[in-house]
Amino acid sequence: MTEHKDIDAVSGTATTGHAWDGIKELNTPLPRWWVLTFYATIIWAIGYWVVYPAWPLISGYTAGVFNYSTRADVAVELGNLEKIRGAKMVSLGAAPLAEIEKDPALLALARARGKVVFGDNCAPCHGSGGAGAKGYPNLNDDEWLWGGSLDQIMQTIEFGVRSGHAKGHEGNMLAFGKDGILKRDEIATVANYVRSLSGLPPRKDADLAAGQKIFAENCASCHGDLGKGNIDMGAPNLTDKIWLYGSDEATVIETITNGRAGVMPAWGGRLDPATIKAITVYVHSLGGGR
């Protein structure tokens, strides 16, 4: 290879002939296979530039001769997934609601599909496990403002509550204070009476008889004479232990004063019927379904 065969005495290896301050460099070239592999990677990289998207430009990128796109790949994969699931989802869409829970395979499918879609669409308000929050009902408990049967749950999901949809649930808690229907002390009185309905201790000086009278005149039309509620109007049962907005006196007074009108969107146009069925079954099986 080299003309000058200068052999290092200690190691017995040829030197490159370069010397710096008397220090010589041993000639130990890289193994050939290593060098060839290195060249191969360079050639590979050039091929990669040509074939695949590689170079960012000011407004875009070099697309490569394959026109490869991960986004297109994902679309294809999703399409394939839909194909695989298609048959099962069709059978889910075709089955009557009441039958789904009796068929273990359909129940498993509905719960799995429902859980995913619930996480994507419902969890922001109702929580990932359906535990709800102040103003957003807990779907695990057994209190249902608009009914807890499969059909009732599906109706609520499909058309919503105060959603503006023609078939959506309507029903408003009036703002008794803001609209001047009741005076402040009347509201406080009836609030203590309402709390006592579910066994909560009223204030010592509260006049429960007066409260009952105000209740009968103003509230009973929706909540019933005994405060048991009415699912046709979405009027909550006031005698149970579940409070959507909270059970302390201040919250109850606020509810009576300003009214409540939580909105549940209609999902009918956004999700396909089979998926709505799946969510229905999933929510029903969370534990509160009737």
Partner: protein
């Protein structure tokens, strides 16, 4: 006690560089005690490997009837009467521990028995050497042929050798995949090219590795790639029997003729006549007379070679034999030989093997065939119902490892008057739901437990119990019942 003489650093340096350019080894054919042991062990090892997938084992209808089967799609491992589930892989840990301890014990008794007789690299290389010898002739013929130019006949010879090698390698890969699927079915599929792609890929991989490792790399694997020689060498002690050149008998070595002359003059001469037969037959190409060394796989072929020569020249055999340096040094000072196979080390290894084996056997015999796992709902952890009672949700996973369907009843203890509801299942009896578990599979259930609120406690231990209504088998799992 006499210590083994360890060469000084300077001497060790003279042994050679860390890596040497490959020199092709041409082991000569040899016959004798150890060669015949090796033939027999090779037949047993290869026989087990190639034929085991075809051994049948009746497990009843619907279950695979292959004695040894790794069923990856269904996550089951079958080994004769044992059927293991994925969560029982720790049995393999136990098996590996026993295997390691057995290796230690083998080392303590007879050095690198594994390397010399049982290691797949040794077995397959030996087989490939046998093929090479059959096609190309013995050591001298092969060396001559390799040095000469390639003729047409030589070309056919080489082609024949590599063809046979590739066939063996291909069937080695083929036998491998048979452990992962029903062997007769898969053989049929392979012949008609209908087998799954992964089978062909694995056959290709194992064909390549067998062909390369046993055909070309051979002793290079033992010397440079394999960690075992290092580990095994460290495990060998002064009492272990190793293939040893008995230098007390062999030195000084010289040719047969010269030895006779010197002996006639009364000069001290050893039995070794420097015929290099021990080197010629060695599959790793070493000289055993240099003492114990890393590259020696202790296959004992040099013992056979030396014995043949010693018999021919009328000297006692076993100039090379299984021995240790302690005995050599004792003989030199006129003390009798001693062999200690039963010593603290071997006793300890045996006891450990027996102990681990007993633990595994106990675990295997008492393993549960009915099991339950509980996962508490996290969001929400507890729900207050309209009547003020509290409900907790759980996901139960029930395992039925038996080969038939069975009905289990679910009970729960821990809270007073719990109500149990299984989602999607109507209870057969009130408050005691009964579930049918499919054979050999797991069943997941969503279970709701309701109990009266207990304001004094935040969390109560809860115990789920499942009872096989037919067999009375019981399994239980504990979790907590949480108050909001």
């Amino acid at each position: 006690m006499n210590k083994i003489v360890v060469p000084t650093v300077d001497e060790a340096d003279q042994e050679g560089p860390l890596y040497e350019a490959h020199k092709k080894v041409y082991p000569q054919a040899v016959s004798g005690t150890f060669r015949s042991i090796k033939w027999k062990l090779m037949a047993i090892c290869l026989g087990i490997y190639y034929l085991l997938p075809f051994v049948r084992w009746n497990r009843g209808l619907g279950a695979p009837n292959q004695a040894v089967l790794v069923d990856l799609p269904n996550s089951r491992f079958y080994f004769f009467f044992i059927e293991l589930w994925p969560q029982e892989v720790y049995y393999f840990t136990g098996l590996l521990i026993v295997a390691a301890l057995t290796l230690f014990l083998m080392n303590a008794i007879g050095g690198r028995i594994w390397c010399g007789y049982l290691c797949p690299q040794t077995v397959w290389t030996d087989l490939f050497y046998a093929v090479e010898r059959l096609v190309e002739g013995d050591r001298r013929t092969r060396m001559k042929k390799d040095a000469a130019d390639i003729t047409l006949q030589r070309f056919f010879e080489i082609t024949a050798k590599h063809s046979i090698w590739l066939m063996i390698a291909w069937w080695t890969g083929g036998a491998w995949v048979l452990y992962f699927n029903d062997a007769p079915t898969l053989v049929g599929q392979l012949l008609t090219f209908k087998a799954p792609m992964i089978a062909y890929i694995w056959i290709a991989i194992l064909t390549c590795t067998t062909y390369i490792l046993a055909g070309f790399m051979r002793e290079q694997v033992c010397v440079y790639m394999c960690p075992w020689p290092r580990i095994q060498a460290a495990l060998t002690d002064e009492w272990a029997l190793n293939v040893t050149y008995k230098y007390d008998r062999g030195e000084k070595r010289t040719s047969l003729k010269k030895a006779r002359d010197l002996r006639a003059l009364g000069e001290p001469v050893g039995d070794c006549i420097d015929c290099y037969q021990c080197v010629a037959v060695c599959p790793t190409g070493i000289d055993i007379r240099d003492g114990a060394q890393l590259a020696c796989i202790q296959c004992g072929l040099c013992i056979d070679a030396c014995d043949t020569v010693m018999t021919k020249i009328g000297m006692p055999t076993r100039l090379i034999g299984y021995d240790n340096d302690i005995n050599i040094q004792r003989r030199q000072v006129g003390k009798p030989e001693i062999y200690r196979l039963i010593r603290p080390r071997t006793i300890a290894y045996t006891a450990l093997i027996a102990g681990v084996g007993a633990v595994m056997l106990y675990a295997l015999l008492t393993r549960t065939l009915l099991d339950i796992n509980v996962l508490h709902d996290r969001n929400p952890v507890a729900v207050r119902l309209s009547d003020g009672s509290i409900r907790n949700g759980y996901t139960l996973r029930l395992l039925n490892k038996r080969g038939f369907d069975r009905t289990v009843a679910i009970d729960v203890d821990g809270v007073s008057n719990p109500t149990l509801h299984v989602v999607g299942i109507d209870s057969i009896t009130q408050d005691r739901p009964a579930i049918v578990l499919g054979r050999d599979q797991t069943t997941e259930l969503r279970v709701l437990v309701t109990a009266a609120a207990d304001e004094t406690q935040k969390s109560v231990p809860l115990k789920f119990r499942i009872t096989d209504i037919g067999l009375g088998e019981v399994a239980s799992a504990t979790d907590n019942f949480v108050m909001p």
